[in-house]
Amino acid sequence: MPTRRGALIVAEASTPATFDATRAVGAADPPPGLGGPPADAGSGPAHILSRGKQVGPLMRIQGVVHDDADFAAFYEQSRDACLRAVRVSVTDPQTAEDLVAEAFARAWARWGQVRRHPAPRAWVVRTALNARVSRWRRLRREVEWADHEPPVADDANARFDDDLLAALRRLPARQREVVALRVLLDLDTETTARVLGIAPGTVTAHLSRAVAALRCDPPAASNQTPTMEATR
């Protein structure tokens, strides 16, 4: 029977395996850290059956098993930062929120893979921005025919300094991405470079140019907070 990678695991007939796709990792397992070993590392009581080879009492479907507590911790730590990074590129706050929520839902559905990503937060931001493009393509024809009214900004999420936001959006795409990852997601230079597929030195150069552009941008530079003035 043909199998698709990651889709089908065959249990040995002699194994009285219990199967729970949503909690195949045993409850007694300590939730691994975000940067720790992958869930299928084979430690603890939740041993895994993989491709018919018995290694323990539970079997899993690769890429589907979730550690809900682990994802919940990731969500709590990352959701605001991811939304901030997406807001740099997405004008409407409600749309940005929807896109980030959708990206987190996709991350949950593929948590086994996403948790092994070098920067899961960056994965969420990239997924949200890709979803934005897909959504735009889907809605393009509808907008042509429908009476399109611009969405009303939500006050709670419209507090991003409009001038600064506009200045960020005037940056070239690559510089904007670097600002989003380095500054708003707080990734280090190495990780940012890996995520964007560029050299660390290029990240530094893009960030330097972005900062120079923001400093020279009249609206953004003139709208300083009192704290900023005090630090001069």
């Binding site: 043909p2 987190f104 900023m228």
Partner: protein
């Protein structure tokens, strides 16, 4: 204004932005998405087997 101050300004400007979607909503959407994907994969496997059967 030096580079650090510019970056601090960006961070401060974004500090009030929060994602208020509850985790339960995210999990529900993820579960629905995963179910759709599984159904699609099952349908693809069935079509593949059916196609091989007729070859």
């Amino acid at each position: 204004m030096n580079d650090t101050e510019v970056l601090d300004h960006v961070r401060q400007a974004a500090a009030d932005i929060h994602l208020d979607v509850p985790l339960e909503t995210i999990v529900a959407r993820g579960r629905a998405r995963r179910s759709r994907r599984r159904r699609g994969m099952a349908a693809g496997t069935t079509r593949s087997l059916h196609g091989q059967h007729h070859l």
